[in-house]
Symmetry: D2
Subunit: 396 residues, 4 copies
């Protein structure tokens, strides 16, 4: 037995921040012949499906389902409420706000972006300044990324709502919940969010390929003033169709709908409050391990304050780099794939753990056990007892 023994042959574990691990029930539901798209089970399942989808976002309003990825839903949402020449405000705490902002520019919007770096949540004073300065209410929407997948920062959406209310600013509050829906607590109606965008491949545990835009009456009122909305992105017929094909502006994403149905069944069987609590506990265990390792000085969590960390993804930084080697070891030697760093200055000094959707205690211990092993193999200094610290949280 020498060091050249490979220990990777076995079930692989993709622990990146999306796509997440797909439940067997979802993949099975998608392994079926194409259904009739004019009559039968597929058509009949839509009312319950949209209702149960809205329940995940805690809204009683509307949802439009798009055959598109998360970037597509960014454009879809914007296309319904922002006309060329209008302005959006984008407070950025990671790469994805930039992405959404570029999408806005692509449809002709003006973007006012405030950058809070890649390790910090929003500074509400600066946002307030920007809103106060907008006396003529040129800002038609605030693009608020709830959880930024690149930085793992979780922003305070209810506080942003209160700020808008306090300042009596009429801008729409648009939330990107792509990384957080079905993981971190999110209550669209309760928090006063007007438009929510999400996708299926993270907390919703369905292979990438469909996305969602939830919207309320205020957003709908703004849409009614639009000079023109692209047919494909128009949410109106999708949310309230006369004929089945209007749900999707054409052919339905047949297999994804069956997969999503299975995923929603899992979520609601568990209960959304319990889903959030599970993600919180699992994240807490991961933090306990990482904070222990951090005592060694070589690794630390990107977000210092637990209150601003997502429960779905954890970005880590390595003082001396070697993130690439660490990820290579876990993947090729242990069968565990960790996420690359994204949007950080130094690629090799960052990596991310995905813990979203179909994730439980044994998976978290596998992920952390894999990190411990890789750090041992690479001789990265680290505090002792990290795995036991995580176990203690899970055991609590």
């Amino acid at each position: 037995m020498t060091q050249t023994v490979s220990l990777s042959q076995g079930r692989t574990y993709l622990a990146i921040p999306g796509p997440s691990v797909m439940p067997d029930a979802v993949l099975q539901a998608m392994h079926r012949p194409s259904p009739n798209i004019y009559d039968g089970a597929l058509i009949d399942m839509m009312p319950d499906l949209t209702r149960d989808l809205c329940r995940v976002a805690c809204t009683n309003h509307n949802v439009a389902i798009y055959i598109a990825n998360g970037h597509g839903t960014w454009e879809a949402a914007l296309s319904n409420v922002i006309a060329p020449g209008e302005t959006v405000l984008a407070p950025a705490s990671g790469r994805f706000t930039y992405g959404w902002a570029e999408m806005a520019e692509g449809i002709g919007a003006k973007v006012q972006l405030i950058d809070f770096g890649t390790s910090s949540t929003w500074d509400f004073d600066r946002i307030a300044d920007a809103l106060r300065a907008d006396r003529n209410h040129q800002i038609k929407a605030v693009l608020a990324v709830h959880v930024d997948t690149s930085s793992s920062i979780r922003n305070d959406i209810p506080a942003l709502r209160r700020l808008l209310d306090d300042l009596q600013h009429p801008a729409l509050l648009m939330a990107d919940c792509i990384a957080s829906l079905g993981c971190d607590r999110f209550e669209m109606d309760g928090w006063g969010v007007d438009v929510t965008v999400a996708a299926c491949q993270k907390g919703l545990m369905t292979p990438a390929g469909i996305g969602f835009v939830f919207f309320n009456e205020k957003a709908q009122a703004k849409r009614a003033t639009m000079p023109r909305v692209s047919q494909y992105w128009d949410w109106q017929p999708r949310a309230d169709p006369d004929l089945f094909y209007q749900y999707f502006n054409g052919t339905a994403p047949t297999h994804h709908l069956f997969g999503l149905r299975a995923a929603l069944d899992l979520i609601h069987a568990e209960g959304i409050e319990q889903v959030w609590a599970r993600h919180e506990r699992l994240a807490t265990a991961i933090w306990a391990a990482c904070e222990t390792w951090a005592e060694g000085g070589a690794l630390h969590l990107n977000v210092a304050d637990r209150a601003h960390r997502s429960h779905a993804v954890t970005a880590l930084r390595l003082t001396e780099g070697r993130g690439t080697a660490l990820r290579a070891f876990t993947e090729h030697q242990l069968g565990l794939t960790l996420g690359i760093g994204l949007g950080m200055e130094d690629y090799d000094s960052c990596f991310r753990l995905g813990h979203m959707g179909h994730v439980n205690g044994q998976m978290v211990m596998a992920m952390l056990g894999g990190m411990e092993t890789a750090m041992a193999a690479l001789d990265i200094p680290r505090g002792k007892g990290a795995l036991e610290a995580a176990a203690a949280v899970l055991a609590a």
Copy 2:
């Protein structure tokens, strides 16, 4: 044994004009864990995938893959080459030209539509008139539906190319091959098509959810003049990406790509010429049966001239209606689902047969045998020997 015996329990056969029957190899390829989207097999497979996709369309130019349905690719293609206020010419021989035209209006284009009814192919004299009248070349593109799924008309694309050339009209020739790609002969480069749109769920035998826009240098040149192109629809980074995520403007349609790979393997193992020949022979057998039944006077083919019939779909008309009852019988009593009529005046007097993609001799005989049975059950007058006529074609 009475009439109440149901004979439907068994393998069902969805013989509608899309989605088509999915090969086991495709569904199996999609039954897999989510892959890493930053490294590994998924990334590595893209160059061959796009090349093999282009081979199906017989083009050496570019392809952009969209997470979208066929309607989405209509909008995608238009968004790259038609600016608000520009004009497109749309010669219609069925419902889907209207759909594409509406999409064009949705992005601000002016549409000049020529309607040729639902049973006739284009009249090139009328198209020529329209092009000649456009002395200032306001028409920037001709939206040419190759096969209209609703009417089953197959239009003559090469003749349209010749007409444009003869008139020295610079409009782009944009072809909708959603229903024909991988079924009816189509040679993008050879026929001088500038932009081709297609989707995956018909001849490409992959569950609905992705679509394709192929484009050549002329189309690319037009795009270069566009004041603005939406980020999601922009074909430039998709066709020539620096980073993997640019192929799809965000998260890749992971499972669909593996499914498409399997489908392309089937197509190229068979050979595209042979794929076309198979569809032609199968269609000819279907026509032989239908023409024989037509001798009874109650049923006839929507397209009178064989030269203008698609090899992928066949629209039929019933003199006395009862299409709904006929389809109900085949579905509930025999396990065979036929397609509804679409875009016709009288819903009950039309229906359609899909014979696209993963379809062989025994399936065609099942489809025709089911029709014979249903007509017998409903006592619809029909010529004798229809099935034997079809068998004779298949046996030839």
Copy 3:
């Protein structure tokens, strides 16, 4: 378009007399991780599974499930009730009685075999003679094949019971229902059958790999007198286990049990009487076509009398041979696989159609349409209107 066009690419149809076409629900149920075999869903499902299995055989008595094929259940059944040196009577109307008889010799039994050829059902006079001659009741069991898969003869089990009763012969009545269970009417308790053997891959629509022995109290009483029963074949702990592993004498056939569960759900959702009626109607349609073709003189049904034909399989004979070429054409040109002749004198002059389990109207028309096509291609003389005759039966 020439004769070299292949029309086989598409969904293949395996129309042999077992294994039959597997329902998607069965294959899906088997696509799952291995379950715990000491606790949980697998253990909990057994009481309902064995009950529902008994309902298919119309018995309130016992069932033992074996990881074995049909041949294994032959040996299993015999091993519980026939000691070395004891005699069994085997009335043969096809190859499989010979097979079962050889199995009996393999465990040391003496076999008294009466051969009725390959196209005739039992002659009860000859069986009566044999039983009357057995004054000392050396014959401990009669091995009665209900449907012989090779000849497609269906024997009259209730009449055999009446004969045994009339003659007051105490031999066990053992029925082989491998080809008939879930297809042809069979009522174990009502017909006075003591032991029934069956397997999963025909009417029970589950991939080959498990078999069943049903037995009543009379059979159980005979077992109690056995000097020794092999542990693996012993039906006692299997039918009445104290611990889960005793159901299967060791590790359970985990995935097959989930598949069987799905198959039983299909059967009981449809209703066993309706399942039988469906098979009868479909068989009648097949006969109508074959009898019409037979008018051409080149092909005829192996069993002349409809009353003795199975509803699950049909053996056909070709006066001039060419069965091999016919099957090759349907398989390679149309995607339809027919069954070879088995146990007949001349291999090339026989073939068989399987129509068992998951089979409906459109499949039967595919099978018959494929035959018509192949006979046309091979220029085999045949009566006209065969497919229409079949359609008329299905339409009735």
Copy 4:
């Protein structure tokens, strides 16, 4: 967040000593229509399949494949070489030798059993005494369990061979490798084993349902002297068939063969030496953790000597019991199922870890992390640093 948060929703991990975790490739290979059993791919694949199966057992001799579980292969092997009244010697180091011995009695053999308890390997002096006492060579076979799944003891097969040779005793050496094949090093020919039995659901990573008997010329010679061999168990036609159906004495286990093919591909792609080395390293990591926990006094490994521990399964004992509670916690709170104790005196004080077949570094860390968590939750005393000790082994 309270203790009532369940952390089990996610991918479950079945870490029992068989059935093991099935690779996706195996389950996918089994998700297919039934194949033709008279012609085509299934028939063609058999020569390579049996060759590659023999390569796993390191033999150039013969293999018979049975539709049966491991218990079935016990009976199959015995039925070919042990006649009623003949004697077998069974040195027991766990429950499964008793099982095999009972199987031998079931076919009429006399069994001479030597019990070495549940925590010790064989004492060769006592075996030597028994063989020396057998002056007339009544003992026809020694039933040697290589790895006893209940105790996790690994016995020294080569040493047993040397003993037989030294004593010039002609008894067959029959090895049960059900738990060890494809996990622990085993070289049938090199070690002088005459008959090897194995099953598919452990190291061979295929859903339970088929088993294997490998045999050499010496065993074949003994079979030739048998007065009678059951048809189903007869290995002769299975190992050297004239017709395909003889491989399986009837219908083939179609789907299992495709699954096994995929599993063998995985094994040989990795290389059998590397497969063994991987299991050894993973087992060593598990031992390192368990030995560390053992310092707490509450838990210890059943087998004291590393040299006698299997690399496929680890039996553990708890001084104060609570094994049931521990397993319940890992299963219901973490999604990790551990194996029950088997054949031990006190059910609650034993449990087992399965680490066979498709198992890699991240899985081992999940299993150990789950144990650490459960012991923390149950407040079971344990040494510190167990997971780090395991990680150090994996990192080496």
